[in-house]
């Protein structure tokens, strides 16, 4: 939390200098903030070109309308993530060729269907995913994340891959901390199930050979 406050102060100083026309401050701010935004867009879309476009739009918005950021409503990082999410949603609405987006109303249905299919965790077999840190498994985890409903995917990206706290993710997603927590738990449960299925299929395939 202390680190977060220090980061916010540094961001605030850079932003003030940027508003005064300091190009170096803008560059520093971009270098500090853009990797997380780019990775978020990349994980959410699975498309490097789209992630680049979204990152560009986010910082264009900061350059053109810096007054839109209100520090009393959250951190600069949360503000930038908010812009990124909006652009992603717009692009998804424009281009239906990406991963389907689940609306808020789909969230409970998805989870209910998943739970009914085998009561979630209870269906996981005894064998452990002992190869989960292999390159192959990392690829499977990435694919599993990309098939999560949008609301679950973004909390996994922020809390697991970007290692944000619940509070930071809640600020970035403009939702309560409790919502972040429950979505993350459901997302992790779905991921466990997906990986179990993949693991079972792989074992069956190996035994067949």
């Amino acid at each position: 939390m202390e680190m977060t406050q220090k980061n916010d102060l540094a961001d605030d100083r850079l932003l003030r200098r940027m508003l005064a026309g300091d190009e170096d401050a803008f560059t520093d701010l971009y270098r500090r903030k853009h990797p997380a935004i780019y990775r978020f867009a990349l994980h959410m879309s699975g498309n490097p070109a789209l992630a680049e476009d979204v990152t560009q739009e986010v910082f264009m918005a900061l350059v053109r309308e810096p007054g839109r950021f209100d520090p009393t409503r959250g951190s600069l990082g949360a503000f930038l993530f908010g812009i990124a999410r909006n652009h992603l949603k717009k692009r998804w609405e424009q281009e239906r060729r990406l991963v389907p987006i689940a609306s808020d109303s789909d969230e409970s249905d998805d989870f209910a269907a998943f739970a009914a299919s085998g009561n979630g965790n209870a269906s996981i077999p005894a064998s452990s995913f002992d190869d989960l840190d292999s390159l192959d498994t990392i690829g499977r985890v990435r694919r599993a994340i990309s098939t999560l409903p949008e609301n679950y995917r973004e909390v996994v990206v922020l809390c697991e891959l970007e290692e944000m706290s619940y509070e930071e993710a809640a600020a970035a997603l403009s939702c309560p901390v409790g919502t972040v927590r429950s979505r993350l738990h459901r997302a992790r449960t779905i991921l466990l199930e997906k990986l179990r299925e993949a693991h079972t299929a792989r074992r069956a395939s190996a035994l067949g050979k």
Binding site: G21, I124, V141, R188
Partner: protein, 234 residues
Amino acid sequence: MDCSQFEELFHDLDRPGTDGYAARESVLAHAEACSRCGQLLTHAESLDLALSALSARENGERAPAHLETLLREEFRHGRAAASHRRVRWQIAALATAAAMLVVLGLSLHHRNRANAGSGGGSHSSPAVASDNRVNAMDVNSSADDSVGSELAAAESQAGDSESATAFVPLPYADDSASADGGTIVRVELSRPQLASLGLPVTDMADTDRIAADIVLSEDGAPQAIRLISRSSLD
């Protein structure tokens, strides 16, 4: 701790500040006692490991370098545009201020003219002019021209605190042309005296006196008169 409580907490064992982190010891103890929950915990730890590996692997992902160049150009462009906007605003503000000053000046000027005109009304005709300068041309022209046109064009000034009508030919003057080369005499006249000159005045007492300039011909006969008001600007 029972299994449902375990399922509520086991995702947060490594997340400081959460209930799961606070109850870590109890959760681990339950996982050891319950084989089903123990397996869940093992899978969750494996998932954490995979997610950490994915995070570490992709932590170095950056947007292409050309994007930074593009955004810096945009920043410079925006800064220049903002600077131009600021200059335009300053020019517009200055122009507005200048226009307001001009309007204010004109309005004050007209107001002063109006005040000067209305101030002389008590002792002179309604056509009293605010420009009070007196010169020989006025005398000549007022003597030569008709009374109506002269009153309308009356522009003479006897001093900073005086206003005056234009010269009006006296009804009993012999010949207006004889005023040429005449002299102007400042006098103070009572109502009867004005009446004797052919200017009956009704709104003043017999004892009141009013200043006037009289144009005398070479033979000393009054030819034209103008009334002077001293009170308006005092």
